[in-house]
């Protein structure tokens, strides 16, 4: 059996009387590419936040075989990269794109050590990989949403994580840019040998290479298995409580919203 990178046992998150996650069980192996899919308010982002160490929880979480609490060690945090949903940043905010990518190296460097030439070269390489190297000297706040998400991906990769958590990285981007970002994520999975958890609510915008889907609704797992089985009209109609149909084109399955 392959090594378990992420293991969740009966993970529960409550906010007041509301249950955001209810007894979630999940095991993810090395190099797996898993889609966490569900409607708005299903608990997808909360699940990612639990794994990223940004949310308090009840239950047992193991990362790389070690039991972790909410306030985990720096070492454990370094091994998990996190790309959030597109967030607002002031146009005037004093940070250039390359500097934003370089912030990914700060945790690994530790206190009292400054990023040097090595980190800068690696950051530039990653910006090239994400095709945003020409924007290195541009203020981050002046970049388009797609460009900022690519910078965000480069930033997470500079951290040299073993697990990459992607929280709806294509939301609020136009279709062409969404496709471009998804292709980059597929490339990252192939090249960097990472374990990836990809949160989305859009079945028509899934990156290639994703083999497994975990469907969440109202904080509970309603399906965990092969992505093609998940992409069936019956399963999805139940999940979204809306009649959905699927069809195939060029070997890919798509959802029709009727």
């Amino acid at each position: 059996m392959s090594e378990s990178m992420i293991e969740l046992q009966r993970i529960t998150v409550r906010r007041g009387k509301r249950w955001l996650l209810e007894e979630i069980n999940l095991a993810v192996s090395r190099n797996e590419f898993v889609g966490i899919i569900g409607p708005n308010g299903a608990g997808k982002t909360t699940l990612l936040n639990v794994i990223a160490g940004l949310e308090r929880f009840e239950g047992t979480l193991r990362l790389f075989g070690h039991r972790e609490t909410w306030s985990r060690s720096r070492e454990a945090r370094l091994r998990v990269g996190y790309v959030p949903q597109l967030f607002d940043i002031d146009r005037s905010f004093p940070i250039l794109s390359l500097e934003a990518v370089m912030t990914g190296a700060i945790g690994r460097l530790g206190l009292f050590r400054s990023p040097g030439r090595r980190e800068k070269e690696k950051a530039t390489y990653l910006m090239q990989m994400m095709r945003v190297d020409h924007l290195a000297d541009r203020p981050l706040g002046q970049l388009s949403g797609g460009e900022r998400q690519k910078v965000s991906l480069a930033r997470a990769l500079l951290q040299q994580p073993e697990i990459l958590l992607l929280d709806e990285p294509t939301v609020n981007l136009d279709i062409a840019v969404q496709k471009e970002v998804l292709n980059l994520i597929h490339e990252i999975h192939k090249q960097e040998n990472l374990t990836i958890l990809f949160v989305t609510h859009d079945f028509n915008m899934l990156p290639a290479g994703m083999r497994r889907a975990v469907l969440l609704n109202h904080g509970k797992t309603v399906f965990d298995g092969d992505i093609n089985t998940a992409l069936s009209g019956d399963v999805l109609s139940r999940l979204f409580q809306y009649p959905l149909e699927t069809f195939e084109r060029n070997g890919k399955r798509f959802i029709s919203y009727g």
């Binding site: 070492e75 945090r77 998990v80 996190y82 967030f87 004093p94 700060i106 945790g107």
Partner: protein
Amino acid sequence: MARDLFLMVEHLIEVLSYLPIQRAAIACVLCGTSCSLLSVFVVLMKMPLIGVSMSHAAFAGAVLGMLLDFNPFLSGLILCLLVAGILGPLADRTDMAPENVLGLLFSFLMGLAFLGMGILTRTKAGALNLMWGSLLSLSGMDIVVLTLITSVLVLFVFLFFKEIRSVLFNRRLAGASGVPERLIYYALLFLTGGVVSSNLATVGGLLIFALLVQPGATALQLTYNLKHFFLISAGAGIGACVSGLILSYIFDLPSGASVVLMATTIFAIAYIFSPKRHPLKFRKRNLSHENDSR
């Protein structure tokens, strides 16, 4: 005209030989430095209420100190640090936005201060001095405390610059990637408490709010480089304090008000000539600069 100017400069130099004026000048530089460095955080983390909350905490603490026959500066400092100690965990634990927590604390502390003022039977002048400040009546101890707190703040910015950049950019992302964001954030809150309470005697609790916002807001008009941002902010803060003091001496004006009005003037100039508001000119100049350096 030139002769008048020369005489005025000569007079100002002569005045600088008096101890209270020397102390006021040193306090201006220290106050300008400490407040303007903090204003970078206040502006970029969008927490303008922190200044008024802390100054009211210091004011309430000083009034309580006077009621209990305790050193007002120390009791002000203690309450400021207490507020700093409550604010971070309260905002983190309750999922409330820090601005809302600050708003609640601010109104509570204002109520506490006015309650203390109401109960205080003897003269309230000592407490009121902390609201308006008085640059010309500073003691040697005031200067020592200001020097100490300013040095700690400068050292903090210098030593943790890269962590500060990461936290200012995105606190949650910084935390997720192994940066000790809570250490930086909480340290900043405590430093704010220290800076505000130690500056009550200089510009006062009411006017310090302006110095915690305007230098940072000035720098925001002028640069995209965080290092330059700190330097411009410090320059604007020191410039406002020193020029305010000189103007208040020449025209016999209240020093705190002159300092704040100078800070506003500097901001207005930066805003009018901001290269960020004229991006085309800014880009052209940058491009020609890049070509020159090739």
